[in-house]
């Protein structure tokens, strides 16, 4: 018996003897009916053997863990500026209710041979409703000479009309508060040819001049990607992405001699396993 099963067995035994009901209910049971557990087979095959197989069968029917890794965007971007590689990968491990959720996003300038920033989020994700998880955790940004750490609080799930939504607020170790909302939609042209509009909005509560961010809506990105699902799990795509810095953020960009808006053509792979 593994330690965890042993613990479970002990907990069950204690729970049974104390008449504690941690969960579940027997709807419609007679008032006086004894209804703790089921153990009639114990008399034939032994209580210990049965306890083990009971724990195993229950775990096997609804208690299993799963994992998921998805590269929603893994692409080559070219346009007015330098060509880049961009990756936007997330994955989870856990049960139906609680998961460890990791998100990795980054950009790499091919000609400059330099990372232009990469971030990693490690989140605890808890199912709070039929279609949404609440997520909390940390984010770390790797930027040349300017690493920063944030606390994260967000929600992710499926909104009415099939919009995939990922919205999160971030508070940096300097106390700066920002937020990001990503929304995606899938339009099935055929069973395998799928058009995916995507938008990402970034907000900031206050100016963060060292990061070139102004308060309010700071930047927006709108993209349109057309993918072909050779398999559901494997889909090459092409698309276009329009990024635009807004308001003071745009001013910061101009002051740095950068164009606040950029159009990129993208080609990439959408993968999951």
């Amino acid at each position: 018996m593994t330690p965890s099963r042993k613990l479970l067995a002990i907990a069950l035994t204690v729970g049974l003897s104390m008449g504690i009901s941690p969960s579940g209910h027997a709807q419609g049971a007679e008032p006086s009916a004894p209804n703790r557990g089921w153990s009639m087979a114990d008399q034939y095959w032994g209580a210990e053997e049965m306890a083990k197989s009971r724990a195993a069968i229950q775990k096997e029917h609804g208690g299993m863990k799963a994992y998921y890794v998805q590269a929603d965007r893994f692409e080559y971007r070219t346009g007015e500026g330098d060509p880049h590689l961009l990756w936007d990968v997330q994955g989870w491990y856990g049960g139906d209710k609680d998961k460890l959720w990791i998100k990795i996003e980054g950009k790499y300038a091919i000609e400059g041979d330099a990372f232009e920033g990469a971030e990693v989020q490690a989140l605890w994700s808890h199912a709070i409703s039929r279609y949404f998880d609440a997520q909390a955790g940390v984010r770390h940004d790797f930027a040349p000479g300017d690493d920063r750490t944030f606390g994260v609080l967000g929600v992710q799930g499926l909104a009415p009309y099939w919009f995939e939504v990922d919205a999160a607020a971030f508070i940096s170790d300097d106390g700066d508060v920002s937020a990001r909302v990503e929304i995606e939609y899938e339009l099935l042209l055929t069973q395998r040819l799928i058009l995916q509009p995507r938008t990402e909005l970034n907000f900031a509560i206050q100016d963060v001049p060292e990061s070139g961010i102004g308060s309010g809506l700071s930047s927006a990105e709108v993209g349109l990607r057309l993918r072909y699902e050779i398999k559901r799990e494997f889909a090459p795509y092409v698309g276009v992405s329009l990024e635009r810095a807004v308001g003071e953020t745009a001013d910061f960009a101009r002051a740095d001699g950068e164009d606040p808006s950029a159009v990129s053509f993208v080609a990439g792979l959408r993968l999951w396993f």
Binding site: G15, G19, S21, P22, S23, G24, H25, A26, Q27, G28, A29, E30, P31, S32, A33, P34, N35, R36, G37, W38, S39, M40, A41, Y44, W45, G46, E49, M50, K52, S53, R54, A55, A56, I57, Q58, E60, H61, G62, G63, M64, A66, Y67, Y68, D96, K97, A127, S129, R130, Y131, L158, P160, W162, L188, L189, T190, Q191, R192, R232, E233, W272
Partner: protein, 625 residues
Amino acid sequence: MMHFQLFKGSTYSGKDETMDTTRRNFLGTAASAGATLAMSPLIPTWALSASQGNLGLPGLTGSKFDLTIGKFPVRIDDRAGEAVGVNGTIPAPLLRFREGDEITINVKNNLMKDTSIHWHGLLVPFQMDGVPGVSFPGIKPGETFTYKFALPQNGTYWYHSHSGLQEQLGHYGPLIIDPKDVDPVSYDREYVLVLSDWTFENPHRVFAKLKKNSEVYNFQKRTFSDFVDAVDDMGLGGAIVDRSMWGAMRMSPTDIADVTGAAYTYLINGHSTADNWNAVFNVGERVRLRIINASAMTIFNFRIPDLPMSVVASDGLNVRPVETDEFQIGVAETYDVIVEPKESRTFALVAESIDRSGMAVATLGPQPGMRASAPALRERPTLTMRDMGMTHYGAHGAMAMNEKPKPVMIHGGMDHDTMDHGGHDSAEQRHDHKRGAGVDMVAMAPVNRLDEPGLGLENVPHRTLTYTQLRSLDQNPDKREPQREIELHLTGNMERYMWSFDGIKFSEVVDPIVFNEGERVRMTLVNDTMMSHPIHLHGMFFDLVNGTGDHKPRKHTVIVKPGEKLSYDVTADHIGDWAFHCHLLMHMHAGMMQIVSVRPHMAMNDHDMDHNHKGHGEMDHGGKH
């Protein structure tokens, strides 16, 4: 004629089929098992085609059998795969018993994992029912477990693993119990048709993929061109309203089957359509087909174009013959039909999956080796608001999904009369069960749909079977009115691929459903999901309340249609802990399972008292883990 004839091909005469298949367990010894076997080493003799010498079921009875569970290679549709099953064949050997016999079956486990055999529909003592963790501890690797039980019944049944996902890998076979008295069904020739679904993917991977993306196998979704067609049909406004209604609910009207023809090769007796299982008849003969749906995940529509079928038994028990042209058969259900081909021509035996993503076609013909022309797949059906348990079609209904149901008064007593008519009971439905992330919808106004043939068969241009047409041939043994009613909701969240009863997955269950010995209980099932669920109770037949008085059809498995509320009565005459679950394997694996515990009277006194009938409000704290 009252007795079936034995058709003994030269290969079979005097041989015990089980012995043959045992020998064939290892491929290395297959060559020694005779010419026919060498031709098709992976198919048991009963499931061979007529072209391979099978001219009707050999009549085999026995009372002692040796079965071996193991891994073995198979060839399906000319592609190599690996199976887990019994005696090295898919399907497993036909076990043929005689009613009243005492049976001994030794089951050896040659796997590296635990295994089990559940005798589906057989009224065995519960410790012989073969469900690990419920009736016994399972069969460990290398171990031989001996099942011993008597046979108080007769009819067409089957057996399968209740461990892991072994059913999906080929661990299933047919079982016939011949009546000890004269069979009321006369026939000249008989065949077993085991319908199943085979995938070359590892079933655990299939399940994992459904958890990651529950629509991964659906290649019949609504696309932009469907929208254009809808605009043609109902105008732009209508098409947008329709789309937005489904969109608002985040539900898909094409969510008919979780695992589809994209993953499955559908089989009849282990043969794909290409492998063409074929059987023979002589014009004028009465041919009995014993049809068993041994699939893991596929509800089939079964038909034989141009050949009417007379349904004579369902789930092993005789029903008053009813003639039909097509029926829906849920996973684990069985139907016996009599056909009387009057022309010397081929007939296609067609098992089409409920979502019309694929089918298995076999041939019934006057000569061995013939191939009937397969009909084309029909257009896939789509769900309607009715399948959501809504009586009103419209945007208003869609809005209601996001709201809690209005509190309504419930009447204390049971309304037997209403249910007994098998009519449509559209009173507003209470939902006292757990909600939350695992329950994506509830049926606001579920109705009794026993008089409907099943999803997608509403508008076919021929006769279809409904549950209300089934009438038991014998009077029901227990004609008492039920003393109490237990309502159970079928719940799930398609997006998260969670399935449960009353919002509680089996992994979270503490309390079984308790029956007291001897009582008559009405179980009412409310389907709060958009899928059809074949629900199976172990250990006892239930009498489906379909308006047939004391001739209710007695079944072990019943399809509960989307948005349906149906009832059956059970006599708790079989003490033990019994599994109760959705027979869609992945749904059961996800948690759609419970235990029905039939407690002897004396046990009532041993326990106490603090289990007063809890208010439903208090019951809601399940699943806090």
